[in-house]
Amino acid sequence: MKKYWRSLEEYDIVRQGNMPEPTEEFSTEGLTADEIKNKYKANRRDFLKLLGFSTAYAVAATSCQQPVRKAIPYLVRPENVTPGVANYYSTVMNDGYTFGSLLLKVRDGRPIKVEPNDLADYPGTNAIMQAGILDLYDTARLQYSSKKGNEISWDKAVSEIKAKLDELNAAGEKVYLIASTVNSPSFKKLLIGFVEKYPNVEIVYADPVDYSAIKEAYKNLTGKEIIPSFRFDKAKVIVGINADFLGTWLSPVEFSAQYAKGRDLTKGQKALSKHYQVESIMSLTGTNADERIIIKPAEELKIVAKLYNEIAKVTGKATVNAPKCDKDISKIVKDLLKHKGQSLVVSGTNDTGIQTLVAGINKMLDNYGKTVDTARTFNLYQGGDKKLGEAFEQIKNGKAGGVMVMNINPFYEYPVDDKTKAAFGKLKLSVAFADRNDETASQMTYVLANSHYLESWGDAQPYSDTFMLQQPVINKLWDTHQPEEFFMKVLGESGDYQSYVQKYWEETLYPNAAGYNGFTDFWVKSLQNGIFKATMTPAEPTPADKKNEDKTAELKAENVPGGFAYVVNNQDKLLKFNKPQGEELVIYQKVHMQTGKYANNPWLQELPDPVTKVVWDNYVSVSPKYAEEKGLKQEDVVKVSYNGYEVELPVVIQPGQDNSTIAIAMGYGRKGAGPIGDGIGKAVTGFIQIKDGKRFYSRIPAKIEKTGKTYTIASTQTHHTMEGRDIVRETTLENWKKDPTHGNEKHQYYLKKLKGITLYKHGYNPEDYPGHHWGMSIDLNKCTGCSACIVACQVENNIAIVGKDEVKKKRIMHWLRIDRYYSQEENELHSPVQENPEVVHQPVMCQHCDNAPCENVCPVAATPHTREGLNSMAYNRCIGTRYCMNNCPYKVRRFNWYNFVEGGDYNYLFNDEIKRMVLNPDVVVRQRGVVEKCTMCIQRIQEGKLRAKSEGRQLKDGEIKLACEQACPTGAITFGDMNNPESRVIKLFDDPRAYGLLEELHTLPSVVYLTKVRNKEHVDFDYSIDAHGGEHTEGHREEHHG
């Protein structure tokens, strides 16, 4: 046997034959094979030991396992995608509900933020546009097409529908295509082709909210059935009559931007537009009015008629017969007459008589072509309820063979009776083009899943001279198709819809374009800009024209619409005066919920209503006096019933509302919106009356009775007065003209007397901020309270949604909030119930104090001050003592009370793999137990600084825009570098109207507010600087009126 050795020492031992014995345990010497086997046989104990060890090891090993994170790098980098760098694409949100020309921020292939397109006439967004990005990732969207609830391939569905259409066409049976307004010229062309191929199809346009009274009014007066474009910026006197034009009416974003131009005192302008609001409920627009007159809904026509007659008397037109009206509107009349051609009267009521008189008032005031442009028509909301009603009637009577409902939800938005609904089930063909299984789609045989607007191609023509392009910014998430594809396929058009749009633009629009280097150049530039303004309106073939002509010819025989004579001759037919009849129910739209299309969007649900500040609910709002009389308290549940329809809703007491009016918002009580929106609030569709063939949303003689129940309402603000503190500083135009610091005297005192005085060394030291020093200015005169900034901030900064219960506990996470206060003239304070208060809105976010109370109390130094004047948050360092929250006088700090991120109970956004795609990768999501707050979009500041640095230049003023600033349609928020003497923000800091919120606490805030100035006097509106000095006597005014 060989001997092995390892070292010389061992060799010696081995050589001497003294090889050490193997230890006993492992020795096999002298044992037989069986014995060896037995010796090393594992016994039961060993087995158990091994079992125990391996179990313990397995448990230990698996419990330490990290969750698998999927991060797959690109193998081949897509063109234009640089990881970490955002691309921006222009597109259009044009879904029949909301319209906006937008810029989409796309990071790593994911659209994550909506910004306004600066090239639009009036750039801006509202809350719905801002929040709309989440609808793209909404998992409640239809992910495939279906037939009777079962999945079916889109191709198969289309061919089956086509076969049915052919069949019905051959049989000559009528098919209704009920669609929301199509303003896309190429889609219109496609639909014309469709109707030509299937003459049995009748297209019925219907809108979520009917505006057809305006069209009828203009037909009565001008002969053209149009909605004109309005110019609030050119109007020096604005009279809104139940029209929430800053919140919901027609095109609120554009109107807000226009309106703000007349309210801007920072650009040298020495006057303000005068805004009268005549309304029954407190609308967002009403909160901004200089003077607000409360009327009963039934009085509206009387007042409009009185206004009409007063102006007609002066302008020499025939008056209409109207009952006596005791509301004093002489001020309005005087102001309107003084500003002929510079005034604007609008009404939001869907009543042809009112709208006709309003159109007439504008005409008598020479506003046409100035503030009312009938040549540049507004192409949204072109639906007509009359035709929709007829269609439903035909379907109900079994006179239709099929129906296709496209991009609209009439079963929710229109009061459809059960018989009609049942008749839909008997149709040979029923198709819905819908993005979710909503109230209408769920009743249809075929449901074709719509793509989101961010996945679709298209174009739009919001005004007769403006064209916009819509481009997809992400590949389709699911098996969805835009409706246009259906029509192309049915018509056998080749190519995709993109090429169809392109062809249309090449053929129709390019000939009208000048200054482009070939069509490709035109196309690329238009696509980049998103907007193309035609110098002339291209002729478009509409078969409807012919029909209209026929109808006009018919009418000609009896009475020609178009002119004051027609109005006066037909006044009995047009003007239906009503007597107030006890309580009247008004159904209104909330600024952020509107018609309820986006009810499944938690950002919108959690956005406080700009007036009531209530979230996640609708309710019955009543005036304080009414509540007192009826013994109602906030949160009492009442039963509202009318015509067999009843809802039980809690009461919210709303100052400034008419005493006999009760109001409920539409857009709630959805049944097919999705898991988040369904069942929130109550639907009020059943209350909507059909008057004159049109949906009519007010003057509903509903009954209201107490139920004795209560219901919890979550409101972000429960205290509504300022307690005499100067938080929002206010003055009147007259006083401001005399002294620009009026109303803001305390700031002057602060500057002169207090600013330098301190016991401590801490204070503002310019040397602390050698580079940039960021600051922000908020013009309270321009802020309308529309709340677009709140959602923009929430989207940009990945702010958690917490749900109603948490909001009720005052744990809302919004970094930016808008405080709303009611105020009253001192001499009116004797009345215990505020009847017609004035309202102010004040956006409050972190003020980035240079002497911040929150900073010095943090024991772990988690919230230090940066060298650029920002109050920053180190989330990783924060242990959550919440001392900073207590010590913040503005209470803008927010605590993560639960794990809203990846916490099982909060299924709004963060806990859904797909919805999480909307998160901004530049902003960290916050863990449970840390404090967060406005960072002044530090990620945007950083991005701007890096861009300037890489381009080797100084940062330009206005280059960095914060999310709130960018979203704001009125430009109320300005951000900039206070160390740059040329910056806009430092100029605003020096404005005599500027003041710091709670500056007397010596917090040295980096945010200033500009005093709100109300136009209380009948002073001349003058855009020129210091022209007349604004001295007007009463006699002078009379003379003007003369």
């Binding site: 603000q717 429960t718 205290h719 509504h720 007065t721 300022m722 307690e723 005499g724 503190r725 938080i727 948490e806 506990k809 005052k810 744990r811 809302i812 909030r817 405080d819 709303r820 206060y821 004040q842 409050v844 109370p853 010095n856 109390v857 943090c858 024991p859 772990v860 130094a861 360092r877 924060c878 242990i879 959550g880 003592t881 919440r882 001392y883 929250m885 207590n886 010590n887 006088p889 503005y890 209470k891 700090r893 927010r894 605590f895 993560n896 009370w897 639960y898 794990n899 863990q927 449970r928 137990g929 840390v930 404090v931 919120l997 709670l998 606490l1001 917090t1003």
Partner: protein, 469 residues
């Protein structure tokens, strides 16, 4: 300085050293039966502690502070009220013991031990709240300025919360040390009188104390030195707790009166708690010869005096708020407290703290055990209300009315509070059962001082002991 003619007899019944030892240790000597009331009280306290601290505290840590009633407006809620309240109670023991020691007030001797024990458990209960109140308790070490600073970040010395951590931990350590050192001779007594395991435990605890003259001297030096060191801590700890509020900018918090006001309030609540506890101990252990009516009378007089200070502090707060003309201050003090949403707790506080103790002007009430007991409880409720008024209203309605909100605790808040009461109860009951509830060595000194005990009697004691053995 003890003067018999002023203070009277502090130990009644002409006790011998042996009597004192027997009386104090009766309940924990071998063969003593644990009484039924003890078991009932212990089980109740233990259940409260188990539910409050054993279930709801881990639940808070698992789920988040969201299960409490706190909100973005009132970011501190019950936890901080209870923290300040317990700290206040935790004041009394050391204040009682040390101030009276330094002032050589000999009537402290029969009370100081229990008061010190109470301090320890109250401070433990108090310390729990800041620990579980933070959002991320697992990162709490960030708050300690510890040396090997691998995080490259230092703490913020400007923050009162950091002062708090240091003040409370110092106070807890010093109080515990003071309590322990004071017990050493008594441990030695127990050691000498017990057998088996108990003897071993007390042998270790008594640190080899044998009663040499030298040992006695060092012991007394140690007690007086630690007492002297601890005396400023008594002032500092609640002053620092008060800076949690007074350093802030909130109306109702930003007050220069707070440090003395808090210290006085703490002594007030602490003395009331001492009173409660001593009445119970005296009653259940039948120690009325050691805790005499004169003792309770003295405590009641102190409470009455402190109550006057409290009342004037309340008045000064109101006056300054009026005089400041600050709308924010005026809102808190003149609106919210006097007639607004918080009038009930405010007036409750004023009546309980400033008026009710004035009943002690009457000797009859000072001498009535029941009245003393009820008033001592009322004072502790009043002091809880005071902390409620300090913590909640100023945050609930501060500068911007748009933020104003309400605060209400959840059941978790309430259970954790009950849990700390249970913890306190368990601690005190264990102390009553297993440790010398009065400082025997000091009582004996006192006994010697006040009576003409003869050497013979002492010698007789020793003989008797030997004979028994």
């Amino acid at each position: 300085m003890y003067k018999k003619e002023v203070r009277g007899e502090l130990i009644l019944g002409n006790k011998s050293y042996g009597d004192i030892t027997k009386d104090i240790l009766r309940h924990q000597e071998a063969g003593a039966k644990t009484p039924l009331w003890w078991w009932i009280a212990f089980i109740i306290s233990f259940i409260l502690m188990s539910i409050g601290l054993g279930y709801f505290v881990p639940l808070t840590i698992a789920k988040g502070i969201g299960i409490w009633g706190n909100n973005n407006q009132t970011a501190w809620g019950w936890a901080i009220i209870n923290f300040v309240w317990w700290i206040g109670i935790g004041h009394a023991g050391t204040a009682f013991s040390i101030f009276l020691l330094v002032l050589r007030q000999k009537w402290r001797t029969s009370i100081n031990r229990a008061a010190e024990a109470m301090t320890i458990f109250a401070v433990l209960a108090a310390g729990l709240f800041p620990a579980i109140h933070v959002g991320r308790p697992w990162d709490e070490m960030f708050i300690f300025p510890y040396g090997p600073n691998s995080r490259g970040l230092w703490v913020n010395w400007n923050s009162p919360l950091l002062w708090d951590v240091i003040a409370i931990s110092t106070y807890l350590t010093t109080s515990a040390l003071f309590w322990y050192i004071g017990m050493i001779p008594d441990f030695a007594t127990i050691r000498d009188r017990s057998k088996g395991l108990k003897k071993k435990i007390f042998h270790a605890l008594s640190l080899g104390f044998v009663g040499h003259l030298k040992t006695w001297r060092r012991f007394e030096d140690a007690v007086i030195i630690i007492g002297g060191l601890a005396a400023p801590l008594v002032i500092s700890v609640h002053s620092i707790v008060s800076t949690d509020f007074s350093v802030s900018v909130l109306p109702g918090w930003h007050e220069t009166i707070f440090p003395p006001f808090f210290v006085v309030g703490a002594i007030f609540s602490g003395f009331a708690m001492v009173l409660t506890l001593m009445i119970i101990i005296r009653k259940v252990y039948k120690l009325h010869e050691y805790v005499t009516d004169d003792h309770l009378d003295a405590i009641a007089r102190i409470i009455m005096f402190v109550s006057l200070i409290m009342g004037s502090a309340y008045l000064i707060e109101e006056f300054i708020a009026y005089y400041s003309a600050s709308p924010f201050e005026k809102h808190v003090f003149l609106e919210m407290y006097l007639k607004g949403d918080y009038a009930l707790p405010y007036w409750g506080m004023v009546i309980f703290n400033a008026f009710v103790p004035q009943l002690f002007w009457f000797k009859k009430i000072r001498r009535s055990l029941l009245a003393l007991f009820i008033i001592s409880i009322i004072i502790n409720i009043g002091m809880w209300l005071e902390r409620y008024n300090i913590v909640i209203p100023p945050t609930a309605q501060d500068f911007l009315p748009a933020n104003w909100g309400e605060y209400s605790p959840t059941k978790v808040d309430i259970w954790i509070y009950l849990g700390t009461l249970g913890l306190f109860g368990v601690g005190v009951l264990l102390f009553m059962r297993f440790l010398p509830i009065m400082a025997m060595n000091e009582l004996k000194q006192q006994a010697k001082r006040q009576t003409s005990l003869t050497v013979e009697k002492s010698v007789y004691d020793i003989f008797e002991k030997k004979l028994i053995k």
